[in-house]
Subunit: 246 residues, 2 copies
DNA sequence: CGCTTGATTGAAGAAACTCAAGGAAGGTGG
DNA sequence: CCACCTTCCTTGAGTTTCTTCAATCAAGCG
């Protein structure tokens, strides 16, 4: 199992697959897309591939000085912080091609921990170097601005949805987003292999594990999803069943 | 009343007070701070002061093409969107010295409406011009990146808090943030003059108006706040009363 | 095999919501 | 200046939803 996961992505993969991201749905989110070959070269010159991070390992922690942004080349990451009362909070999940660490821009330290959910490789973008390069490559600057805008939209949508949706709708919406963004592995029959625990998922959705379990149970019995251990299958895409949940 | 509110801020005010923002607590959030005089000049050359927007008037709407970011020079703004079921949602409030519209970066249209809550003047930053200027002025680029990072942190914190706090704690936290950031007018005895309706505030906090009313009532009877119509006074700052709400 | 951790289920309780009615404030017209 | 109206805010009673607490079940691992 460790064999294929632990293999370091080649430089070619770094540039072609992740930073340029030609293959992924989320092209806009990748800093390298729309850059010329020579510009890509300059970008990849300041980056470092880091990994493998095993499940549970930290890519950065709260105490660490903010130095870099990260783009996921392989694997998945959760962003976790600790609230005043000591409880763990999951702030977000990030997948292949997505950038994280941006919430620390303009700050001295990271405000949270970035934890690998599975064997994960990341591309490290040293922030000051990136800033400098941005002034030299307007297209790159443009791209980074866009990625930040996208990030803000994403969080905002989340905020709005979380506030006013019932547990079941929230869960379904989360699963649909996961499914639509094609960031999670699916087997033959559209079963998503979730990288995070149900506990983390519950926490992210602002629910107790028990409530998530019940919501999943309800969705199952309504025929909207099929719920196996860490595999979830979305059924009835865009049918009347699902519409009842809008 | 309209007399003083309707007076257009002078160019001097634009640069010195808002873009440079020497007077405001939120210095870091203002694009002009830490720029030299000549750089400030270049920045103010691409900006336009717009106003007055009367309470309820839109600075931009969902249907509008994204063209500009805005910094508030005077007044207050709410960002409002409509959910699938037709309900109005308040995504955020912005005050003097704060920038809004950034969630549309990288998009063709604004995703929401920006509505003045009181007589409001804004400084318009045409986005493509700003981008170009950023490549010429690394300090400005740096500043904009920082502001975006700050924005992301702010929304994220909100997201996390909203999920796990009771109505009363959420309300108190909101009031404290307002109070601490010194963006809301206060009279002699620390009474904040809230620019938004309680309905908007409730919506922003993910509560029904009734629930907000009850939460405020509870906080009042506990001696943590004093609740008049649109004036709210924070008592017991950092005392045992308040600690019980952490 | 037993231990630990994560997921589920049930029953009771708390928190926020819904619906409905009443009250205060601000604006308008007489 | 007052009566009226509209809008916003508050209050109450009953219901829904999610949480809490406790127990059980399943899976992974030494």
């Amino acid at each position: 199992m460790a064999g294929s996961d632990d293999k370091k992505p080649t430089t070619f993969r770094v540039i072609e697959n992740e930073l340029d991201c030609d293959h992924c749905e989320a092209r806009d989110r990748c800093p390298g897309s729309e850059l010329s070959q020579s510009q890509l070269k300059q970008l990849s010159d300041i980056t470092t591939t880091r990994g493998p991070f095993q499940s549970g390992q930290a890519i950065y922690r709260m105490e660490d000085h903010f130095r870099s942004l990260f783009v996921i080349q392989k694997g998945a990451v959760k962003i976790e912080s600790v609230s005043e009362d000591g409880a763990n909070m999951v702030d977000g999940f990030y997948f292949i091609g997505e950038m994280f660490g941006v919430d620390a821009i303009g700050d001295d330290y990271y405000r949270n921990d970035a934890i690998a959910l599975e064997t994960t490789w990341v591309c490290e973008l040293p922030y000051t170097k990136l800033e400098t390069l941005c002034t030299l490559l307007p297209e790159l600057q443009r791209k980074i601005f866009m990625m930040l805008g996208h990030q803000i939209r994403k969080i905002n949508e989340n905020l709005v949805h979380n506030r006013s949706l019932s547990a079941e709708k929230r869960v379904l919406q989360f699963l649909e987003t996961l499914s639509d963004s094609n960031v999670v592995k699916k087997n033959h029959q559209c079963q998503m292999q979730l990288p995070m625990s149900k506990g983390d998922m519950a926490c992210y959705l602002g629910l107790r594990p028990e409530s998530l379990s019940r919501a999943l149970g309800k969705l199952s019995s309504d025929g909207v999803i099929r719920n196996h251990a860490r595999k979830i299958e979305l059924l009835q895409h865009n049918t009347s069943f699902e519409l009842a949940y809008k």
